[in-house]
Symmetry: C2
Subunit: 438 residues, 2 copies
């Protein structure tokens, strides 16, 4: 993973050095907090990829549950409980599922509650699943009390029970120890994995939360974790030139201070859109905060947006180029997609222009990418670049760990505690009360 | 369609009246511009739903091309050329495709160029398509020169030709008269539909651009157009209380003037996410503009964002509730989803809490929707509501026409010409040159 910003991020080198000085203490604390490897604080999420116990328990469950005829993995979870797994699934498989209708298993994410999905579930199972071995239901909820997740879980389980009787063997629960969901799972003998109490769910992709559903795919979990491990040293370096997480945080925060309140994450690979949505939650929920400073209420937060190349060149580019430029952009681009088909002209449209015959899709995308960067530079619109070597599990692991560590620095620079979300908890309570009243 | 804003939009009634006064002239011009029904100006898109010639030519093409064994409709188009059709497809079919693997035909959108999609195309066609009647290729490009669209078109056509020989009968071209694409199509005898020269593609969903691919689905084109026709009178009224398009534009522009530079479109139905992306292009490309006022360069534009309930309550809500509140929100909610399954507890998780047994998904979603609105009101976060009666083709038609007319008023209030996109054209030129150089 390369992080490029010189001549494009438009932050003075001395501002970077000053902020890096300020962050030295944070880095010191972070090193200490992660050194113990005991999950005694929320920063310990950094240690998850090294934790061999997690991988062992997931491998054991996979060996027990995997079946050669597994067709569908239902993942019931919402927000931090599913966005990490969905980011990886969509990048490697989901975006291409249309083109591989026969490729199995497929993952189906049950996140929100949708009346039409509920209404179709029973017919879907009736027509497409002929043995319990063909499905796996993975419930992910740290609190064990998420309304949508429980509703989806009850619906799917109840339909499956009607058809197959006891489906206990086809269910996996991921929750923290001691929840009501955990207790019931233990009582009923359902396979249950936990995540550490301190790990906040939007930082949990390298725990059982992300790894459990992914492990049932032709997915190299080891490579994913290696990718994450591989960036930790640099992301904990106190030399900003060697620390992409710190650099990115400093650049975003410097622009935020001068009024750029949007961080646009512009992915040049549409299969990374869900990765963008994972980061969107990470940033929005970590940094959105109101606090009282000397009696005055201050409201902090950066709005993360996700743009996708090349589609959004035909949608958002006019605004980005000519509009108020209240965004700091992070371009994400993979050098090598691993395939290089060549375009040939069809007989029917042989003489159409522009002539793309002989081009590779990769070369066209790269030309567009270089063009938009040139436009940004010419107009003085600031950006950074994250260049991934490829779109592998390893690269995804690096990117996600890098971004989670970046968020700690961003929190420090903005004076925000990144591991809580008090106002959304307040809202959730309200929703539960409204539902209880009927 | 109901438009609600009182007590929540937080714009003084006198500000609304003042802006409505300013817009009287615009409305007058608009009525005149659309009265002629001759497509002599870009505002004439408002007449598209009434144009019986469009429907006739689409019905004729459908009768000629539709086959009982049609399985896949490839739509090659990007930006305004495909976002409208995709919004409708995803709302009615696409979002649920996972649950109906056997339901055909399915639509496959070839928008950007993706190396992995290119690499998989040939295998996909080999394995899934056994006769040319099973596919339809619909190319949509107003200019006829969009790089991505041409690349995708050449790729798909060439693979199909290898397998089936001449595929002319299975291709439909939508472009404006006189383009190179149009000429070749005429020469080769390919069925070709045009859109009026003056209609800008992001305003073209009710022309052949949107209707052609959609007409091959079990989709009520007449109802879609009726929905659009049904809102025109009110959206051209000079009484703001009767004109949701004007009200919405005034509210967005009033908040923009006080620093709320984001318009968050918060859909409480995930199947409407693509509708959000359609609106995102409409707003970004119409309003993003730099202009010289008394020698000073002014940069105008509102950043449209798309949020989805209930997922984004677990992702963005913390930011929206506690953050800098630089957004004006438009909630979009459909009263009746047309289905009302009831949730039953499974045997396995019978005693889990919260207990959702006996609830309908619709009731849970509605409780969440009411809760988040209450939180916004309590915190003084401004919003409007668009309440659709249902999620039908009729409702989608109403919403899209309403939003396109809203954009004309927004342009007038912000002093922006909404029918061009000069800077994105500049970028496109750059990309073509870069590609030509190799």
């Amino acid at each position: 993973m390369e992080f490029l910003y010189k001549n494009s991020a438009l932050v003075a080198q001395e501002r970077i050095s000053m902020s890096a000085e300020l962050l030295k203490q944070v880095i010191g604390n972070l090193r200490q907090a992660t050194f113990a490897k005991d999950y005694s604080n929320p920063e310990s999420f950094i240690n998850l990829p090294q934790d061999e116990n997690i991988l062992k328990s997931i491998t054991a469950i996979k060996e027990k549950k995997n079946k050669p005829n597994l067709k569908y993995i239902f993942v019931a979870g919402i927000g931090g409980a599913n966005l990490g797994a969905k980011a990886v699934y969509d990048a490697l498989f989901g975006y291409f599922d249309n083109f591989y209708p026969q490729r199995l298993p497929k993952m189906i994410f049950l996140d929100t509650i949708n009346p039409k999905v509920s209404a179709s579930m029973s017919g879907f199972i009736e027509q497409n699943i002929s043995s319990a071995d063909e499905i796996l239901v993975c419930i992910v909820s740290k609190s064990g009390e998420t309304i949508e997740t429980i509703a989806n879980l009850q619906e799917v389980s109840q339909i499956l029970e009607k058809k197959f009787g006891d489906i206990k063997e086809r269910v996996i629960v991921v929750t923290k120890e001691g929840t009501r969901l955990w207790q019931i799972s233990k009582e009923k003998g359902i396979d249950t994995l936990t995540l550490p109490e301190t790990v906040v769910d939007r930082y949990s992709v390298f725990s059982a939360v992300g790894l459990t559903p992914l492990s049932f795919l032709p997915f190299d979990t080891g490579q994913f974790l290696d990718g994450a491990k591989g960036v930790v040293d640099s992301c904990l370096s106190d030399n900003p030139e060697q620390n992409p997480a710190m650099l990115s945080a400093i650049i975003i925060s410097e622009h935020y201070k001068t009024g750029k309140s949007i961080n646009d994450n512009f992915f040049f690979h549409p299969e990374l859109e869900s990765l963008g949505k994972w980061y969107r939650q990470l940033m929005a929920e970590s940094l959105g905060e109101e606090k009282r400073i000397e009696g005055r209420l201050e409201k902090v937060g950066i709005t993360p947006t996700v743009s996708i190349g090349s589609m959004d060149l035909h949608s958002m580019a006019q605004l980005y180029l000519a509009g108020p430029q209240n965004q700091i952009t992070t371009f994400v681009y993979a050098k090598d997609t691993g395939v290089s088909p060549q375009i040939s002209n069809s007989a029917l449209f042989a003489n159409l222009s522009p002539d793309v015959s002989g081009e590779t899709p990769e070369h066209i995308v790269s030309a567009m990418y270089r063009s938009i960067k040139t436009s940004y530079i010419e107009r003085g619109i600031p950006f950074m670049e994250v260049v991934l070597p490829d779109l592998s599990a390893h690269s995804l692991g690096s990117f996600m760990q890098f971004k989670m560590i970046e968020m700690i620095y961003l929190g420090a620079l903005l004076g925000v505690y990144v591991f809580d979300q008090p106002n959304v908890e307040e809202y959730k309570q309200k929703a539960k009360e409204m539902l209880a009243k009927k």
